[in-house]
């Protein structure tokens, strides 16, 4: 039973109050994009045994989507952050690199 702190309302929410939304920071490819770009956007997802940037919605709460950096095997959470960004904040990258110096987003 995971828990995440929602960066919008500050609640440490239990998994039953949240909905998972898969990989974060996808770049949308629309009309005119190449087959390859569109396939990547629509279907190809990272599935690391390691740190994963992912989407969660505080659905039984403030209703906001937020992003989290979570290790998929140890379940360590390196931080949660706003969904209105294209990359994790420097502080979270630092937290991750403190344990995994080689890590790339």
């Amino acid at each position: 039973m995971l828990k995440f702190t929602c960066p919008y309302c500050g609640i440490e929410a239990s998994e039953t109050e949240l909905a998972a939304g898969g990989e974060a920071h996808l770049k949308r490819y629309g009309p005119g994009s190449s087959e390859q770009d569109f396939e990547g956007y629509l279907f190809l997802r990272k599935n690391p045994k390691g740190v994963h940037l992912e989407r969660w919605r505080h659905v039984m709460g403030c209703g906001k989507w937020f992003l989290a950096a979570r290790h998929t095997a140890t379940l360590e959470v390196f931080g949660t952050y706003s969904a209105q960004t294209h990359e994790p904040p420097a502080e979270i990258i630092e937290n991750i690199r403190a344990k995994f110096p080689e890590w790339q987003a």
Partner: protein, 1003 residues
């Protein structure tokens, strides 16, 4: 023969006798007894039969690890199988029955299995029941069904209630023995919030039985003082009868409280599931004693040395007058002393070790007890069902009998294993001790929480600390470490404690060490599942090397006790057979729950009327009172139709449709999704969401639209009403409202976060009532309050106003092809408006109709339904809805996907109407047959039915379907398969079956 002693029993109250029944026989016990103790006190040594061979079995343990003494408890709806007699507190009126026997506990036909046991070895099921195939149905299956299954379920519904409790604490301590108490005492000095759980009805664990002294007082006294301190501590919560059942991710833990099992009928829930979120967890779960593997070790009267000691000390029960103790360690000598102290006889202590010279063996010798070292039990002798003697042999040999010793009980001890289950549930690793020959927690490889920090620690014997002062010191230190992690400073201390030092144990797993195969086939490892030393050795011989595979092949450790007694012995035997060290073999995985928990407590409040939330519209009660035949639509309940007395569903649907088309119908459309979308960018946003253009819609107008996902497939459809320059009200399908609102918020929050758009899900704010039929306008005019004339409100227009003195928004839209108004009214006024409409509509024979009439009428008009014509693989183009796909828009969700070659293919099946030649109703989901077969030998197909109904309007079957090149094949007759293998012919027609020119709705 077991019996009650005249004195002793620290847990029982001899002043309070208690009556109970076992297999219909009336018996007496005392308050404080557990059922196993009370049965022993009544001379009932045999308490059940084993699973596979139906061998008679007596109680072997005294606690949660008991594999044998499983009983069916209670009666009727409260009957519960597989309850451990050792953890069942006795109460007045308790009724229990034994299990796994027919016709009786004393004489069991199935025990024939036992004499056939050499034909039922490990993997028997896998090997035997494969061939011949026919034998399965007539021979094997009936046999297995008759002999398998542990206990029987109760039939009537469970009358008890169960609940959950969500609890947040800083420190959870599982286990209320002296280690758990010491950890709690350490934490009580801080202001950390502490929860201390104990699975039994009393605190202190084994220490009082083992006779330790702590801080200069008897353990019992120390425990009493500790409890007083803890009860007075405002930051500590104590719970008995509450078993820590599992540790999960991020500090989550479950505990199982048995609130009223010991006082049935008492108010309140029977069990409670504690859903705990803890900052830190300490497991002070103690240790379990292991049996020894000798021939006949499963005979009634053979039990764990600690259990035998418990029955004497805790309950004043003698398991036998003359006890033989057999051991590989010093602890069992405590049992010999307890037997002696209670006035019973110790016939002999048989110690497999070459020597035993520690203080405990010395004390026994001083007490005049005979001690035989280097010896083993070669066999157990019975007379009827009573244990009569053991044969003694040399441990080093093959089992030649040196001497026969008369006895009626055997106390065995193979050493102790720390209970590492909760430590292991979330990834704590183990080490093998070469001193104590058990697995214990590796403190360097601990479970980690959301911060990557250690959150589970062990305390006391669960850590592998075996002596009383070590137990207490370790517990205090674990508590301090946990508290420091929580940001509290605390100090550890080691109370002084005395208790005899123990000499080294010996890793004796099988006795005698050179036992023959015949002997090994009578040495039980798993008592409940009848797995013997010979089975595990056979598995190894057959190539099983992984302990996980061996477990499943032999069923070792797969019984309800989950191998609490058998696992270490089993893997020691496997290691021996594989000739490798025990740590290399490893353990099987520890999974929650620690002991079985009731199904009722898992469901908690999710039963009966709160099984699931049923969503009800404001008119739900009216529907119910007027013959509604319910249909689930998501979590909503909607009337499928309203049946009158004696009327069939089909007749009701026909009546509802005819009355609506001829005069006036009424539909509760409240479940329809209603989402307000507002802001300067609302039009732009809806243009992205819908395939057609919404930004050009004028205020006061409605437009039907389609929403696709990014994969191009249809998700939802509905009517959008523009309220003003900035605001739209989006109608979604009933099942789709929450999902579509979430979909909108997802795009707004995560992709187009700079667009100025807000949404609000107003689905439940309004009751929505569709008034449908040629007399609809007359009805609204009769209600009065606003102009609903053709001129004032044209088709696909809406207006705010008043009807029957209620505030409403009226939409002139139609899903039936009739003149139709949908009236939205605040939900709290919904029933009132509905009732007024019903009253006013009487003169036109107004007929409420349900979802089936709705479906048939829309199908008669060729309107698609999300979920019928669509299934997640259908695009709007398949449904000839290209008119609703904007060519002007550069982008909308799904546009790129629909440009893929497969989506643009002319070979996609397309929507057509279907009319059977014989007028019958096509089977739902039937396929249009094509010539030939595919590469798998299956019949080729060229289309399928998506909706099919009997149309009362047309008096025949009508259907819609997706057909290859369908729209180009009008008039062609296709064959559709039926379940019986025959086919039915249907003609491809225009999907609009009724009022093709739309004259009825444009009046």
């Amino acid at each position: 023969m077991s019996t009650r002693l005249s004195t002793g029993g620290r847990l029982i109250d001899r002043a309070k006798p208690v009556s109970f029944q076992f297999n219909g026989r009336k018996m007496q016990g005392f308050q404080g007894d557990n059922l196993a103790a009370a049965l022993l006190a009544n001379g009932q040594v045999v308490m059940g039969r084993s699973f596979k061979y139906h061998r008679p079995r007596g109680v072997v343990a005294s606690g949660a690890e008991e594999p044998n003494a499983l009983v069916g408890l209670g009666e009727g709806g409260r009957f519960e199988p597989n309850q451990r007699a050792t953890t069942t507190e006795l109460f007045d009126g308790l009724t229990a029955i034994s299990q796994n026997h027919w016709p009786s506990l004393d004489f069991d036909v199935g025990a024939v299995n036992s004499s056939l046991s050499r034909f039922l070895p490990a993997g028997f099921y896998y090997k035997t029941f494969i061939h011949p195939r026919a034998a399965w149905k007539h021979l094997f299956e009936p046999f297995i069904r008759k002999s398998a299954g542990l206990g029987k379920p109760s039939n009537p519904g469970d009358p008890d209630t169960y609940e959950h409790a969500y609890v947040h604490v800083d420190l959870l301590i599982v286990g209320g023995g002296i280690a758990g108490l010491q950890a709690a005492l350490t934490a009580a000095k801080t202001d950390a919030k502490v929860l201390l759980l104990e699975q039994e009805a009393h605190w202190g664990g084994r220490a009082p039985v083992d006779g330790a002294e702590i801080d200069g007082v008897a353990a019992e006294e120390w425990i009493k003082n500790a409890l007083q301190t803890l009860e007075a501590a405002p930051n500590v919560t104590l719970r008995k009868r509450c078993m820590g059942s599992g540790v999960y991710d991020h500090g989550y833990a479950l505990a199982y409280e048995r609130c009223t099992d010991h006082m049935p009928g008492a108010a309140g829930p029977r069990h409670r599931l504690w859903r705990i979120r803890a900052g830190q967890i300490i497991t002070a779960t103690g240790a379990l004693e292991r049996p020894l593997s000798f021939s006949g070790n499963d005979r009634p009267g053979v039990m764990l040395a600690s259990a035998l000691r418990d029955y004497i000390v805790n309950y004043g029960v003698s398991p036998g007058d003359r006890v033989v103790v057999v051991t590989n360690n010093d602890d069992a000598y405590r049992t010999a002393l307890a037997v002696k102290d209670s006035g019973l006889t110790v016939a002999c202590i048989i110690d497999a070790r070459a020597s035993a010279d520690g203080p405990l063996p010395q004390a026994c010798r001083d007490a005049g007890i005979r001690v035989e070292t280097g010896k083993a039990i070669a066999g157990v002798g019975m007379k009827g069902k009573a244990l009569k003697f053991v044969d003694i042999c040399a441990q080093a040999g093959e089992g030649s009998v040196l001497e026969t010793v008369g006895c009626d009980a055997v106390a065995m001890s193979g050493g102790w294993s720390p209970v590492v289950h909760l430590w292991s549930h979330c990834g704590g690793k183990l080490l093998w001790s070469e001193d104590n020959f058990h697995f214990y927690p590796d403190v360097t490889r601990f479970p980690t929480d959301h911060k990557g920090a250690q959150y589970v620690r062990t305390a006391g014997i669960a850590s592998g600390a075996m002596l009383t002062h070590e137990v207490l010191g370790n517990a205090s230190e674990s508590a301090v470490a946990a508290l420091e992690q929580l940001g509290h400073s605390a100090e550890a201390w080691r109370p002084s404690a005395t208790g005899s030092e123990e000499g080294a144990m010996a890793p004796v797993w099988v006795m005698p060490q050179g036992a023959s195969k015949a002997k090994k086939s009578k040495m039980w490892l798993d008592f409940q599942n009848d797995v013997k030393v010979s089975d595990v050795e056979l598995a190894a011989q057959e190539g099983y090397q992984s302990v996980e595979h061996t477990k499943r092949y032999t069923t070792l450790g797969m019984a309800t006790d989950q191998g609490k007694l058998s696992n270490i012995n089993g893997l020691a035997v496997l290691s021996g057979a594989l000739n490798q060290p025990i740590p290399q073999t490893g353990t099987t995985t520890f999974r929650p729950p620690y002991t079985p928990i009731s199904m009722g407590v898992i469901a908690g409040p999710g039963t009966g009327k709160t099984f699931q939330p049923l969503r009800k519209t404001p008119m739900h009660g009216w529907h119910e009172a007027n013959g509604a035949d319910w249909e689930p639509v998501g979590q909503w309940r909607r009337p499928y139709c309203y049946t009158k007395s004696g009327e069939s569903r089909e007749a009701a649907v026909s009546r509802e449709i005819r009355n609506t088309r001829d005069s006036l119908g009424l539909l509760d459309a409240s479940t329809l999704g209603k989402i307000l979308v507002t802001g300067p960018d609302a039009g732009k946003f809806l243009d992205m969401l819908y395939t057609n253009m919404m930004s050009t819609l004028k205020p006061g107008k409605c437009r039907y639209g389609l929403m696709c996902n990014e994969n191009g497939f249809l998700m939802d459809d509905g009517v959008v009403a523009r309220l003003d320059e900035n605001s739209f009200l989006v109608h979604t399908t009933s099942g789709g409202a929450d999902h579509m609102h979430a979909h909108m918020e997802d795009w707004l929050q995560c992709e187009w976060w700079d667009w100025k758009v807000y949404t609000a899900n107003l689905t439940e704010q309004y009751a929505q009532i569709a008034v449908v039929g040629p007399n609809a306008r007359k009805l609204l005019e009769k209600l009065g309050g606003m102009d609903v004339s053709k001129e004032a409100m044209a088709f696909m227009e809406h207006a705010d106003g008043e009807l029957a003195e209620l505030p409403v928004r009226v939409y002139r839209i139609s899903f039936s092809g009739e003149l139709s108004y949908e009236i939205a009214v605040p939900a709290n006024r919904g029933l009132e408006l509905w009732e007024k409409i019903v009253e006013a509509g009487a003169e036109w024979n107004i007929t409420p109709y349900g979802t089936e009439a709705l479906h048939v009428m829309r199908a008669e008009k060729g309107f698609i339904m999300i979920g019928d014509e669509t299934d997640g693989t259908v695009i709007p183009q398949d449904l000839n809805l290209s008119w609703a796909i904007s060519k002007k828009k550069e982008d909308f969700l799904g546009k790129r996907a629909q440009a893929r070659s497969h989506m643009a293919s002319a070979e996609r099946w397309k929507l057509v109407g279907l009319e059977t030649i014989d007028g019958s109703v096509l089977p739902d989901g039937a396929y249009a047959l094509a010539e030939g077969t595919n590469e798998n030998g299956q019949r080729n197909t060229q289309g399928r039915v998506t909706s099919t109904y009997h149309s009362p309007t047309l008096g025949r079957g009508i259907a819609m379907g997706l057909v290859l090149h369908g729209p180009d094949r009008m008039g062609e007759v296709l064959k559709f398969n039926k379940v019986d293998g025959s086919a039915v012919e249907a003609k491809i027609v225009d999907p609009v079956f009724y009022d093709k020119d739309g004259e009825k709705q444009n009046v």
